[in-house]
């Protein structure tokens, strides 16, 4: 129905503009006056903080999304982990710097043979339902994940594919077996959350979250929030914060407003441009590495000099300052963070040298040639700005840049296309379990879903690194592997953007390199 047609149109329009003006003026006055009688209440941010942690404090954490499931075996979801990392525990843990530590196991595992790792378990630990944590729980946990992997029902296949089973030796000793020598297994056991033996065949753990962790699940309102409270029976040191509410706030501006008003004590993914507004920003160099995968085998980027030129052409420092507000570190020609095993400390970031870049392109006779750069916008921090900056730097070398910023689904089609590799594909690579194997087998190893090279030597090294059992041997192997890619300029390495958090003034917490939000490490000062 066209309701507008019943009106004398011309007449109305004249009046409309006059009215519109006065309305706008009115609303501006209303908005300006409003600041005085603001009704917001500020609960955080006291200026006279004494530094002593408040016992029994309650905090609210704003996450950017709602968990898609609360079953840690099924989904690979940061929001799920933010909550469940406090409810469940793993055999091994990591300190804030990323070094493997005992967890529910009393020590790092010992090797029985090439495919068997033996764990000794902590005694006197109980689950939230009162049942004891022992070898049976470990066997049940392993059995559950092995079955889910076999049924293709878990998204975490990549973390656990090598595991074949577990056997109980006695109540506090368990052997975990793998399908071949697997040096990654200790790191995998830092990731697999331990469940009670009774939960082995539960289809979906979301309905009842029973772990051994310092916090217990209390309630959930779908679409809105999840609450957890301290577990009084916890075997470790009692945390000072007793109650946590997680709210799901998709909009970054809303998270920041809530932090400023004192509604939230911790917000994740604080944009660098908002750092000045947060009562207490916190950052750590995490595992995020935005990188451009170059096609080493075919096309314009098959020439190593061109790949070098593409690296030389990009001003990493300008990107750090302009795109990441200074909260980033130039990548040392590898996608591994210093906190990850295999990081090659001898490699340095490629220096910015636009003159040499231009010379190399000219020498290759490629002035005016077109290079394709494929990316997406919106999934990773300031990705569009980053891509546009890179395209600008590349253009300055004399190349024509075809920048394709695609919708995410279409972008994935390009990233996963094994037969037709684009010249350069943007991706932000991350590392959850702080082990290099998965990152390198995805992006460095020939045949990996994001790899654009066919170097067999490199591929063999990555296989070898997975199969070596001694961390020192693995370190040496991976150092060699990442050096091959660095020498051959297989990627354009950019800068690793920091994980940024906003804290209320009363919060005291140091972010971890593995980006876990462990409430037991947080406290509130009065």
């Amino acid at each position: 129905m066209d309701v507008g047609s019943t009106l004398p149109r011309g007449k109305i329009l004249q009046k409309r503009y006059r009215l519109l003006g006065s309305l706008l003026a009115l609303s501006l006055v209303a908005v300006a006056c409003g600041d005085d009688d603001s009704t917001s209440t500020t609960t955080g941010g006291s200026s006279d903080s004494t530094g002593a942690p408040v016992e029994g404090a309650e905090i609210t954490i704003a996450l950017g999304s709602e968990p898609t499931s609360l079953d840690p075996y099924i989904v690979d979801d940061g929001a799920e982990r933010a909550i469940n990392d406090n409810i469940y525990e793993t055999l091994l843990s990591r300190d804030a710097g990323g070094t493997l530590q005992p967890g529910l196991a009393t020590a790092l595992p010992t090797q029985i043979d090439e495919t068997t790792w033996q764990f000794t378990l902590r005694e006197g630990v109980t689950f939230h339902d009162g049942s004891a944590f022992n070898a049976d729980s470990v066997v049940a946990s392993i059995n559950r994940i092995v079955k889910l992997v076999a049924d293709a029902a878990t998204d975490n296949d990549g973390f656990y594919r090598t595991i074949t089973g577990a056997t109980k030796v006695d109540d506090v000793t368990v052997n975990i077996t793998t399908d071949g020598p697997d040096g990654v297994l200790p790191a995998r056991m830092y990731w697999l959350k331990m469940i009670p033996a009774s939960a082995e065949t539960t289809a979906d753990l979301s309905e009842s979250l029973v772990g051994t962790g310092p916090y217990k699940f209390v309630s959930r309102t779908v679409g809105s929030d999840i609450q957890i409270e301290v577990n009084p029976e916890y075997w470790g040191d009692a945390p000072s914060i007793t109650k946590v509410t997680y709210e799901f706030v998709a909009e970054g501006g809303t998270r920041l407003a809530g932090l400023k008003s004192g509604k939230y004590d911790l917000i994740t993914n604080l944009p660098p441009q908002d750092v000045d507004q947060a009562p207490q920003p916190a950052n750590v160099q995490g595992q995020e590495h935005p990188v451009l995968i170059l096609d080493v085998d075919e096309g314009i980027t098959a020439d190593p000099n061109v790949r070098l030129a593409l690296n030389l052409a990009v001003d990493k420092q300008a990107i750090i300052d302009q795109v990441y507000g200074g909260f980033a570190v130039a990548d040392a020609a590898q996608i591994l963070s210093p906190s990850v095993l295999g990081f090659n400390a001898d490699l340095a970031p490629v220096e910015y040298d636009p003159e040499q870049a231009k010379q190399l392109i000219t020498d290759a006779g490629l002035e005016g040639a077109t290079i394709q750069l494929v990316g997406e916008a919106g999934r990773w921090l300031n990705d569009r700005e980053l891509l546009e900056a890179v395209a600008g730097y590349w253009k300055a070398t004399g190349l024509e840049v075809q920048l394709d910023i695609l919708e995410f689904g279409a972008y994935l089609d390009v990233l996963f296309d094994r037969t037709n590799r684009a010249d350069a594909i943007f991706v932000s690579s991350s590392n959850d379990i702080l082990d290099p194997d998965r990152q390198l087998s995805t992006y460095y190893q020939a045949g990996g879903i994001g790899a654009s090279n066919s170097n067999e030597e490199l591929s063999a090294l990555i296989d070898q690194g997975r199969q070596q059992l001694d961390p020192a041997d693995r370190q040496a192997t991976y150092e060699e592997a990442v050096k091959i890619a660095a020498d051959g300029s297989y990627f354009v390495w950019l800068a690793s953007n920091s994980d940024l958090y906003g804290l209320s003034e009363r919060m005291s917490w140091t972010p971890r390199v593995d980006s876990k939000l462990l409430v037991k490490e947080m406290s509130v000062t009065s």
Partner: protein, 307 residues
């Protein structure tokens, strides 16, 4: 009446079935939920295994007949985004917030549009009429995403009277409801105004005037009721458009986790099953609403023949 409703329900079933099948075809043409379910680093083998486990590697016809069979048993599959849950149960988790939003918005719309329209119709072309008509035009021509952000800036950021996100309706639902209502108020009050003007020019109103009945009673009792039919038609349309479209925008702007918010997420993640379930449930509601509107005609004007 009973036979009429039965017939309309029968027609409705055809509509619901048709719409659902249409969505099945569209989603199968455009996407692949597995791409969005698994982490970036998942291997091609893992992706294939997942597709096989979900039956997505079967031929499209096999999938279609399985879908029809499941649909007859009201099984719309498992959501690929909200994992481990049937798509229908996800819909019913999020639907209540959308119903609250639409209900409050439509209450605002009705409560304001009738007096405004009547007020404007009292002296067509007068200053009140011009002001109100202009305001209506502004209201109905403003896109909701723009209106929403304006409301947010004024009342949440500056004045801090309201909050966004889930929460009690007094602080969290009023603003999205206003955002949903304002364009509807514009459209509805214009209809009230024009039908009132039409009614005021009819013979029976002239007779009522001649016998000395007050303007207030003529307008409030006689004319308004007769102006009801176009109003109810448009109100029904407003409710349907709100449920099937406007809430997607409004809920996203105000971060109100209802079905519109979920619809956006489902599309973003190419969650076939959830998209289907949302469309299915909304189609059922729309069919039922249309029947209710027809019955409302009969109540307002007994001369209407529902046969």
């Amino acid at each position: 009446m009973g036979r009429y409703i039965a017939r309309r329900l029968g027609q409705g079933l055809v509509v619901i079935f048709g719409v659902t099948i249409f969505v099945f075809v569209i989603t199968r043409l455009i996407g692949d939920p597995v791409k969005f379910m698994l982490p970036l680093s998942a291997t091609p083998e893992q992706r294939e295994a997942r597709r096989a486990a979900m039956g997505l590697d079967d031929g499209i016809l096999t999938q279609f007949f399985r879908f029809i069979g499941d649909l007859l048993r009201l099984d719309l599959g498992e959501s690929t985004y909200v994992r481990g849950q049937s798509a229908l149960s996800v819909v019913f988790d999020y639907l209540p917030r959308t119903l609250q939003l639409v209900a409050l918005g439509m209450i605002f719309a009705v409560v304001l549009s009738i007096p405004l329209g009547v007020l404007a119709s009292r002296k067509p072309g007068g200053i009140t009429d011009r002001i109100l008509t202009t305001l209506s035009l502004i209201g109905l021509s403003m896109p909701q995403f723009f209106l929403g952000f304006m409301l947010l800036i004024a009342f949440t950021v500056k004045l801090q009277w309201f909050e966004t996100g889930p929460g009690p309706w007094t602080t969290n639902l009023v603003l999205p409801a206003v955002c949903l209502a304002l364009p509807a108020i514009g459209r509805l009050s214009i209809v009230v105004r024009s039908s009132m003007i039409d009614e005021m020019n009819t013979q029976y109103v002239k007779v009522a005037k001649a016998k000395g009945m007050t303007q207030r009673r003529i307008m409030g009792v006689h004319a308004l009721r007769n102006a009801g039919i176009p109003y109810v038609t448009l109100l029904g349309w407003e409710i349907i458009r709100a449920l099937a479209g406007y809430t997607v925008v409004v809920e996203s702007v105000f971060n109100w986790p209802g079905l519109g918010f979920m619809a956006k997420t489902a599309i973003k993640n190419q969650d076939f099953y959830l998209i289907q379930a949302i469309v299915f449930v909304i189609a059922v509601i729309v069919v039922l609403l249309n029947i209710v509107i027809d019955i409302a005609y009969k109540v307002l004007d007994p001369r209407v023949d529902l046969q």
